[in-house]
């Protein structure tokens, strides 16, 4: 018998080389500048692309196999959750509002990241990085889809999930998310990568994934948990890739340093300005709490980012300009966000409420420096109004920051008393900002931000009205939100009464006994 010949297998390094950098060729019919028209205008200089390698040496063939395994496992769990009426087993129907917020914020954001990355994946001049970016783009699409699929079981039983894409485009309170994504989409391929992989994923994504997924598990949501973990395994890779990319750009040319620093400053802050919703989700919306926003910040941001920048100092990169301000906000962020959302509760696509007494005590324990002093009296007042049958509503149209488009609800760093105002005159027009950082972002590229279509202003332009009362609510009703059913007070809502009617939350209560 003939001896079987062993097929020669490439080792991981050669295989990675063969399936990424070796695919590189120089075009002959067209100049390379025309094939990669966006490669140079951002001013990034790369001398040797072979120096960039994916830290995980991921190639497309391996990636397909891994992802399809993950999909099979995930969808088996999602099916089981739906078949066993898992939605009845969550801790409390208030929890479903956390799912709604994830669906309204997270899935469209991930879809936007997918589109932005696909642009970079086409236009980056380095082959290995282009392939890594292509993989990342596809992963963001998975994350968007999976959140939708994980939430779809809830959509059959609860209100407020029926027109998410439209809300993302037009709902006033989702404008900070859309604005973030639009800013990305109009950035060049290098800025975009630094923004997503480093500014968002490396520095801040753990605050979203780790605490929310543990909270979801804690509240009996076995639909969102596997979707989250499936995404998180990708995100862990993105974070590493982000660090590798930043180091690579800094090493390639010392002239890159100031540009990368500017992007890190900008995108850390823009990502941080998406955090109010994450913070309130953790401190206010999840009925069975795992930890506070402040604890997450300490554990998943402050400590690791300090360590990371100690390392990056050798490359000439400093901590983001807004770092101190962001850290100083940890005692206030979730409370200011929930205070605003509660007041505007009639103009959202989810429900709001005043936390119960035990929850107020929990908040007090977690925020000894700020809760009792600044925030509890507001909540007590809302509860009092509610008990008297006159729920508090804030009918004003909110002033928004020209850059992050958040309503101007944030106080000066480390303080609970004074709202932060910043103003710039540009070509005879006044522009207003929520922070030094947003003001700086504007100053660096004013022509990008003067065209912002702020929601409050757009509402006034379309209604042509001089009265602002109810304008915010009318704008949300125009988007298919049924006032009072999909939003407003949670207690006594259709979601609340149905859940009780179905015997929801019983398992969780028995488990506690």
């Amino acid at each position: 018998m003939d001896k079987r010949v062993e097929k020669k297998k490439l080792d991981l390094g050669s295989r990675y080389q063969a399936l990424t950098q070796d695919l590189q060729w120089n075009t002959s019919y067209q100049p390379m500048e025309k094939v990669f028209p966006y490669a140079r205008y951002e001013g990034i200089r790369v001398h040797d692309w072979s120096q960039w390698q994916d830290p995980f040496k991921m190639t497309l063939d391996v990636w397909w196999r891994q992802q399809s395994d993950k999909e099979r496992r995930l969808y088996a769990v999602l099916d089981a959750f739906a078949q066993n009426n898992g939605q009845i087993g969550v801790s409390d129907a208030r929890y479903v509002n956390a799912v709604k917020l994830m669906l309204q914020v997270f899935s469209p954001l991930k879809y936007a990241l997918h589109r932005a990355l696909a642009h970079s994946a086409r236009n980056l001049p380095g082959d290995a990085l282009r392939i890594a970016t292509q993989i990342q783009a596809s992963e963001q699409l998975r994350h968007a889809q999976q959140t939708v699929h994980a939430a779809s079981v809830y959509n059959k039983y609860f209100n407020g999930m029926h027109e998410v894409p439209r809300w993302y485009e037009q709902a006033w309170y989702l404008a900070p998310v859309k604005s973030f994504a639009d800013d990305l989409a109009s950035a060049g391929p290098f800025e975009l990568m630094v923004a997503i992989s480093f500014g968002f994923e490396t520095l801040l994504s753990d605050t979203l994934f780790v605490p929310f997924m543990s909270a979801a598990a804690h509240n009996g949501d076995l639909s969102m948990v596997p979707a989250g973990f499936s995404s998180q395994s990708d995100t862990t890779r993105h974070k590493q890739a982000g660090i590798t990319l930043v180091k690579f750009l800094l090493q390639q040319d010392s002239l890159n340093i100031s540009t990368v620093q500017r992007w890190v400053d900008k995108w850390f802050w823009r990502s941080f300005r998406l955090m109010p919703m994450v913070a309130m989700l953790q401190d206010y919306m999840v009925p069975k709490r795992v930890g506070s926003w402040k604890e997450s910040w300490d554990t998943y941001v402050e400590a690791p980012v300090e360590a990371l920048f100690a390392e990056l100092a050798a490359y000439g990169l400093k901590k983001p300009a807004g770092w101190q301000a962001a850290c100083a906000a940890k005692d206030h962020l979730s409370h200011q966000a929930w205070n605003a959302f509660y007041g505007y509760g009639h103009a959202l696509a989810f429900h709001t409420w005043v936390p119960g007494n035990d929850e107020l005590e929990w908040l007090d324990r977690k925020y000894p420096n700020s809760f009792d002093r600044w925030y509890r009296p507001r909540l007590s007042y809302y509860a009092q109004c509610e008990a008297a049958g006159k729920r508090f509503h804030n009918h004003a149209l909110p002033m928004q920051c020209q850059v992050c488009q958040q309503p101007m609800i944030f106080t000066e760093p480390g303080d609970g008393r004074w709202i932060a105002y910043r103003e710039t005159q540009h070509e005879d027009e006044s522009f207003h900002f929520c922070s030094d950082q947003c003001q700086t972002i504007f100053a660096n590229e004013p022509d990008k931000y003067v065209q912002a279509q702020l929601a409050s202003h757009a509402i006034l332009q379309t209604s042509g009205s001089e009265t602002t009362e109810n304008a915010l609510q009318a704008s949300i009703a125009d988007l298919g939100v049924v006032i009072g059913r999909d939003n407003g007070e949670f207690h006594g809502s259709e979601d609340d009464t149905n859940f009780t009617l179905w015997g929801g939350g019983q398992d969780m209560k028995e488990a506690q006994l």
Binding site: Y381, P398, W418, I419, E429, V450, H457, G464
Partner: protein, 118 residues
């Protein structure tokens, strides 16, 4: 170039005064954050301060339990960061306000619900 772009890039601002029925005034009652953000109010700059006080502010802030207790003679007024003394018959324009100015007022002694700035 004031934006990083592949070519010339200019854009008209979306919120110049001519695009609204009236110029926009941002209004805030300092230290009263149950109204979480300053309000946007379309308002003629010919409006006199007496009307701002008696017609505009009650509509925005009348629901607050401290509103009735405001001693208007004690109120501190700001145009942006600049403190000013209003003349009741003077118009917003005469006090230096224009499209997208910020009008803030502060009520010493009234610092929100139980002093919480709420």
């Amino acid at each position: 170039m004031s934006v990083t772009a592949i070519g010339a890039y200019t854009h008209e601002p979306h919120d110049t005064a001519d695009r609204f029925t009236a110029p926009l005034l941002y209004v805030a009652w300092d230290e009263h954050m149950i109204f979480a953000a300053p309000a946007v109010v379309p308002l003629s700059m010919h409006t006199i301060m007496a009307d701002v006080q008696s017609k505009v502010l009650p509509k925005l802030y009348g629901a607050h339990p401290e509103f009735e207790r405001i001693q208007w003679s004690q109120v501190q007024w700001f145009c942006g960061d600049r403190m000013f003394t209003p003349k009741p018959k003077g118009t917003l324009a005469e006090h230096g306000f224009g499209h997208k100015s910020v009008l803030r007022f502060r009520t010493p002694g009234l610092e929100g619900l139980r002093g919480s700035c709420g």
